[in-house]
């Protein structure tokens, strides 16, 4: 312990003598790794958005040259007019970037890394070097995926779900290197997530501060813990599947090629066995962070803390037995469809419990509408739409009509954009001071919020309607179908809203960058919150605490009658509080 102790208090007291490279590039500090994830995945978010804008151009104005499209090569968009083969690359890469390189790393890579040690009260992750590798493998995966956009015959083009055998055989898809790079990249993503998850799990189990019992953990930590378990067990399945897909592509195996005895549905089983837990990986951390923000904004303890925890656990458990609902019309055994339908409908229950508990938290509160709170309330409002529209497709007969239509696109964007991304905007604004020592601009944050809220709904809500009318997904030009031609004005409306939505996000990016240098200096506890991270100066120093704080109570003691002010930090010792028992760790 001696050598450790020597550096542990180096944080605040004396200056940090690590070199620039060790400090900011090959850093093992969980906060720096979190911030590295933040910058990289915000970049990929922008890439994913740009791809979506091109898709929307084609859907809104088919056959017209795209402004600025002239820079694209002849094989993609001659004269700026998008070709069908480029369009399906856009579809594929938009989904891939957003799911694997934007939302997932933003939620897990950024906030699991940044928040877990700060919120449970420890100096760093259990395995800091493995944590560093988790970032670098992710970056390799991202660079590989990005490079696939620039190979001669283009990026992968079988949808982000990579349904075989379209993805498995190059003569079917028409792309070769792009498809292979996709598989390679996904293997790296899987590795990165596994390394990250095992770190988060070990850290949360073993390294909590004194007094930080399981049921004093903030819900954000609970949700990140459960998410880590999902990631730990789901990502290896994806990696295994991607490896087999890669083998089909390059060494001639036949796992997914029915022409040589393989099974096309096997890929779907593997993919969705990973993919449904993945859906919860993409929403649970958002739910957790929103719980923290709503309790703070309402100045009230979270309503039904224990049932919130059990709801997270229930969602995670049920998340493993619902994957077949992506395959109701795939030719899967229909009896299996029945059981998947029931488990899928049941998973709505814990989601409903969470929603009502958030409302219960706001009920009789004293609501402060700072920017994170606005996003959190919007999260609840939008997540409800995404959750409820999920019930339509859970009912198997209705799914017959809306499967693979824009109804699904609307649903998943209501959950991933309306849910996860709103939560992320809120969370970034909320913990920005602890990351960078400055506050983001409040007025611009509000402008960004309201414009996003409006244009987001204008973009995605109409998709429910065209989806009901039967507009299929991933169509290069829906006007091929007579029954879809009358909907063209709606597509134009959606496209224009989408452009405005994208433009609005630039406000966020500018605010983010501007505040890095010019933002108002943040006090130690700008939101008057209870978490352990707010006991540190902003930005949090290397090594966090010289001596980890002791925890005396749960994280949501707002408006407690015990104190005059309306918050009571976990680390604040009242005269009535007793020191937690010190339990020596056996076997050390």
């Amino acid at each position: 312990m001696t050598s450790v102790a020597a550096t542990a208090h180096g944080a605040q007291a004396h200056h940090d003598d690590r070199s620039f490279v060790r400090k900011y590039i090959f850093s093992t500090d969980h906060k720096i790794i979190g911030i590295q994830f933040l910058f990289v995945s915000l970049f990929f978010l922008l890439v994913g958005g740009l791809l979506a804008m091109q898709m929307r151009w084609q859907l809104g104005f088919p056959g017209k040259p795209m402004p600025g499209g002239g820079v694209l090569p002849e094989t993609m968009a001659p004269g700026g007019v998008i070709l069908p083969e480029y369009y399906i690359q856009l579809v594929t890469m938009h989904g891939t970037f957003m799911v694997f390189f934007a939302i997932m790393p933003l939620l897990v890579g950024v906030f699991a890394n940044f928040l877990i040690p700060l919120k449970i009260g420890t100096h760093d992750m259990a395995f800091p070097r493995i944590n560093m590798w988790s970032f670098w493998t992710f970056l390799i995966g991202g660079v590989v995926m990005l490079s696939s956009l620039f190979v001669p015959d283009g990026a992968a083009r079988a949808g982000w779900t990579m349904y075989a055998p379209l993805s498995a055989r190059h003569d079917y898809s028409g792309a070769s290197i792009g498809q292979e790079l996709w598989s390679v990249s996904i293997i790296f993503v899987g590795l990165s997530s596994i390394l990250g998850s095992l770190n988060y799990i070990t850290t949360i189990i073993n390294n909590r501060a004194p007094g930080m019992t399981w049921f004093r953990l903030p819900l954000s930590v609970w949700s990140l813990f459960i998410t880590a378990i999902l990631g730990l067990l789901a990502l290896p399945v994806l990696s295994g599947a991607a490896i087999m897909l890669l083998f089909d592509q390059i060494i001639g195996t036949h796992f997914f090629d029915p022409a040589a005895g393989g099974q096309a549905l096997l890929w779907q089983h593997l993919f969705w066995f990973f993919g449904h837990p993945e859906v919860y990986i993409l929403i649970l951390p958002a739910m957790g962070m929103v719980s923290d923000i709503i309790a703070n904004g309402s100045r009230k303890p979270i309503f039904g803390y224990h049932s919130m925890v059990f709801a997270i656990v229930a969602i995670a458990f049920l998340g493993w037995i619902v994957w077949g609902h992506h395959m109701f019309v795939s030719g899967m055994n229909p009896t299996l469809g029945s059981s998947f339908m029931v488990s899928t409908l049941v998973i709505a229950v814990p989601s409903a419990v969470k929603t009502f508990n958030w409302m219960g938290t706001m009920w009789r509160g004293n609501l402060r509408f700072h920017v994170p709170m606005l996003h959190a309330v919007a999260f609840v409002a939008m997540f409800v739409i995404g959750g409820l529209s999920g019930i339509f497709m859970a009912a198997t007969p209705v799914d017959m009509q809306i499967h693979d239509t824009y109804f699904i696109v609307a649903h998943l964007h209501y959950v991933l954009f309306g849910g996860s991304l709103f939560a992320l905007f809120g969370a970034i604004t909320y913990w920005y001071p602890k990351m960078f020592g400055r506050l983001m601009s409040e007025p611009w944050g509000k402008v960004h919020f309201w414009l996003t809220f409006i244009f987001y709904n204008c973009t995605f809500f109409p998709m429910h309607i065209t989806g009901m009318a039967g507009e299929m997904r991933r169509l290069y030009d829906p006007n091929q179908y007579t029954f879809l031609q009358p909907w063209q004005p709606m597509r134009v409306f959606i496209s224009i809203s989408a452009f405005l939505l994208f433009a609005t996000q630039l406000i966020f990016f500018v605010n983010f960058w501007w505040s890095l240098w010019k933002g108002q200096k943040a006090p130690q506890n700008p939101w008057e919150d209870n978490g352990l991270e707010w006991s540190l100066p902003s930005p949090a120093p290397h090594g966090n605490w010289e001596k980890v704080p002791t925890v005396y109570r749960g994280p949501y003691e707002f408006s407690s009658p015990q104190v005059a002010e309306d918050y009571l930090p976990q680390y604040k010792k009242l005269p009535t509080d007793r020191e937690p028992a010190r339990v020596p760790l056996a076997g050390h």
């Binding site: 001696t2 259990a126 930080m212 399945v237 087999m244 195996t253 393989g262 099974q263 020596p584 760790l585």
Partner: protein, 225 residues
């Protein structure tokens, strides 16, 4: 906590919050990692089971394509190396680093021999015409397919699943051998393990036994069934 002092950046709380899992970080981390490894092999083995179960034709009977004798020996070898690993662990628990080094070295040798034999097996199989895409045209095995000893319809799947599963197992064995050799030279030889601090041996041992465990399953379902 002594073994936690490996890197300067690795800082632990002075005492734990409550009894976590009552195991030190490395060991817990290894178990968590093994859980994800179970899922990885579940994907590969599950694929094999589902493909074989759903195959339209008969599957090749065991013992025709694959050399059972040499693999049975290899299985035995891996079991032996598991025992030698656990002997090394027991030795250091008793505070006998010399004995620990001996058993660790035996384990490394056993593992390396396993990999060597597997490479030999692969070379042989490919010479006979068994490749990941099935059976090579004009090879010895192609003749067996032609005369009906081997089913033509499922040989492609047989090759795909066989090479993927055993290949990834072999990759895991190789990783194990490398990490054990690394620990042998950087920790065991300089005498860094003691009765009080043997976390590295126990952790790498867990990994090694897991690899052995996977092979036990693979040997049965790939070679014998």
């Amino acid at each position: 906590m002594t073994h936690a002092a490996a890197t300067v950046d690795q800082m632990q709380p002075p005492y734990p919050a409550e009894r976590g899992l009552d195991v030190y970080n490395k060991k817990l981390g290894m178990w968590v990692f093994l859980a994800s490894e179970v899922m990885f092999f579940a994907a590969l083995i599950g694929t094999y089971v589902i493909l074989r179960f759903g195959a339209t034709g008969e599957w090749a009977r065991p013992g025709i394509v694959l050399n059972i004798k040499i693999t049975a020996f290899n299985t035995f070898l891996l079991i032996c190396s598991s025992v030698s690993m656990v002997k090394a662990y027991a030795a250091i628990q008793d505070g006998d680093p010399k004995k620990m080094r001996f058993w660790l070295l035996m384990t490394i040798l056993g593992g390396a021999t396993f990999v060597g034999i597997q490479i030999y097996e692969y070379v042989h199989l490919v010479e006979h015409g068994f490749v990941p895409s099935g059976v090579r045209e004009g090879s010895e095995l192609a003749a067996l397919v032609a005369n009906g000893t081997l089913p033509a319809a499922t040989m492609g799947l047989y090759g795909s699943t066989f090479f993927t599963m055993t290949g990834f197992h072999g990759f895991h064995v190789t990783c194990g051998v490398i990490s054990m050799a690394y620990l042998y030279f950087t920790k065991a030889l300089p005498g860094k393990y003691s009765k009080q601090d043997y976390g590295g041996i126990e952790t790498v041992g867990l990994y090694w036994h897991f690899v052995d465990l996977v092979w036990i399953i693979l040997f049965t379902i790939v070679y014998l069934i």
